[in-house]
């Protein structure tokens, strides 16, 4: 296996995530797509650790941090989604434009 394959996987995963974030109308869907993007970044970390600096653990540790932070971020995101649901009776982000000028 060469490094490019890993990176390609990560890039594809990231692109799918971006696409999901931009096109999903469901807030939970957006959060899920965000997780995809985090995981793409995690794959990159681990890949670079394996191929650029083998023996070190920096990339793995970083990936672990990202997972934890992603979980925390998902908590905040889901809380927002809950509140949105209470106020709008729905979680369709199209309708949530209260931060407009």
């Amino acid at each position: 296996m060469i490094m490019l394959q890993y990176l390609a996987l990560a890039a594809i995963l990231f692109a799918i995530g971006v696409f999901g974030v931009l096109t999903r109308r469901n807030a939970v869907g957006i959060l899920m797509s965000l997780e995809l993007m985090f995981n793409a970044a995690n794959i990159n970390f681990v890949t670079f650790n394996k191929f650029i600096a083998p023996g070190g653990l920096t990339g793995q540790i970083f990936a672990a941090f990202v997972i934890v932070i992603a979980a925390a971020e998902a908590v905040v995101g889901l809380a927002i989604v809950l509140l949105l649901y209470r106020n709008w009776k729905g979680i369709n982000v199209d309708r949530i434009n209260i931060m407009k000028w």
Partner: protein, 688 residues
Amino acid sequence: MLENAYLIPFYPLLAFVVIIFFTRWKEKLSSYIAISMVLLAFVHSVFVMAAMLGRHGEPLEKIVTFISQPSLTLELGMYIDALTAVMLLVVTIVASCVQIYSLGYMHGDPRFSRYFSYLSLFTFSMLGLVIANNFFMIFIFWELVGLTSYLLIGFWFEKKSASDAGKKAFITTRIGDLGFIVGILILAAYAGTLNYQQVFEKVSSGALAPGIVTLAGIFIFCGAVGKSAQFPLHVWLPDAMEGPTPVSALIHAATMVAAGVYLVARAMTLFVGSAEAAMVVAVIGLITSLLAASIALTQNDIKRVLAYSTVSQLGYMIMALGLYGVDSAHGHHSPGYVAGTFHLMTHAFFKALLFLGAGSVIHAVHTNDIQDMGGLSKKMKITTITFFIASLSISGIFPLSGFWSKDEIVATTVGHPIFMIFTLAIAFMTAFYMFRLCFLTFTGKPRVQEKFDHAHESPKTMTYPLMFLAFLAIFAGWVGLPWLPHGFSSFVYHEEVHHAEPNYLLMLVSTIVALSGIGLSYLMYYKKSISADAIAEKIKPLYNLSYHKFYFDEIYNAVIIQPLLGLTNVLWWFDANVVDGFVNFIGWLTVKWADLKQWFDQYIVDGAVNGAGYFCMGASWLFRYLQSGSVQFYALTIIAAAIGLVIYRVTPLGFYYYLAGLLIMALSRVLARIFNNNRVKANSNVEG
């Protein structure tokens, strides 16, 4: 007690402060505070007098430096000698009597407490004036007594005549005070000090040029002329009778008007140093005395007769002091100094008594006009007896106190024949008008029955002071009996004791003169064997002259007041048209300038601020659509930008294509938005 005699003025001051600030609403308490404080001052004065007698009049001076400058040092201090001790006693005695008397006289007055606070303030000022050790201090207290005099003359200020009289008194005395302060400044400039003793030392040693001494003496005498109502500034004192009668007794008969005499006595060294100044003093005193006595002959207002009598007696004292100065300047012995100060003391008692008696009468019949009185002796025994005692005393009848002091004044004029003749003439007139007053008021038939019926003896708070003062009017003069080896003349003196031998011939002459004055008025107003009207008719011009007070008020009105009013009118016109015109022009200019600035503010400054606002609004009408509030749109923008950066890195030219593509997409979105606006709105309505 002597060492802290400076406390004496502070007792009444304390009363003033307490009454004005704390107890004004409790009338009884206020009056008791005032009276107890003045009695305290009296007791202290008695101790001071005792101490002074103990040290045979040896002066005591205490000084606190107030302002020290190389050119002039101003001090606060007290100087106590025999004269001060006498004055302290006189002032506190009369003030005590008057305050107690006022309890009855002012009963029910709406400003009762304030009246007592003013009396206390006056007593403070007068005691301060007496106790001062330099010209600077005496001037301050001098003005303070002037102020309180003004306040008390105009005490019933609802009456226009009273408030006018207050102003007249204040302004007239101010003319004299101007002279006084000029005199003080001359002394300050040439002697370099205002302390009595230092100034007098310089005068005695000849360190000051005689011309300066004369000038200073005459200017300082100006102050005395104003305060003691001497010619030509005597016009205010009769008008001052508009004040409450006890005030007239205290301020305008016994104490404040005597301040001028006190000043002349105090500054005697100046007049001894300059025979010219002393002569001016003596002549002014004589003219005043003669003028006032002749006016008093025909007046019908009981208080005005007494007022002119006061002016006349003050003239007497001033004349005696002036003659002392003249004689001493020429190296002769003269009893004038003793005579003046002695008469000041005895006069204070019997004139206060006369005024308080007059107040008692006015209290009973509610009129000042003696033509409306008559026969009051039946109703007011104590008042009548005390009034007669005082009248006998002022007329100079043996052995009442007025006799001894008047006798000394007559003795002073020995060696000045003109003065002597006029002095005796004044003594005659004094006896005449005093008994004219007595007979018209107390004897005969009541001329206005209604007023007589309402008359009654005054309450005890008023009669007791009368009796006490009557006692003094009889016996106070005995301290100056010519046979006493250590009498008044060896206690109060200027520089050295002149012990005058009793002059029996003079005593006889002055007694005869006084008795003949009383006799004439007895015949005219008691027996009515000589018709007063017939005599008045015979000497009509003279009678008119006297009745109209020599037309002084009219002359002053025509010569000074009217021209002054004319000048004032001219100045007013100038003020109203030129000064006000200028001021108004400046105002107009300011308004116009402000208008200009307002325009500038509105259109330039506000324009800039609003312009910034409008600019922002205008600039943002398109870009604000970027703030769609849609998070996904923002994310899209970020990613588009990121992709753009990557493209730019790889192929800069491709970046522009990419940008153009983005713009076209954005534009098509916007256009779609605008054309589908209605649809969007409808949607949002449904969902909202």
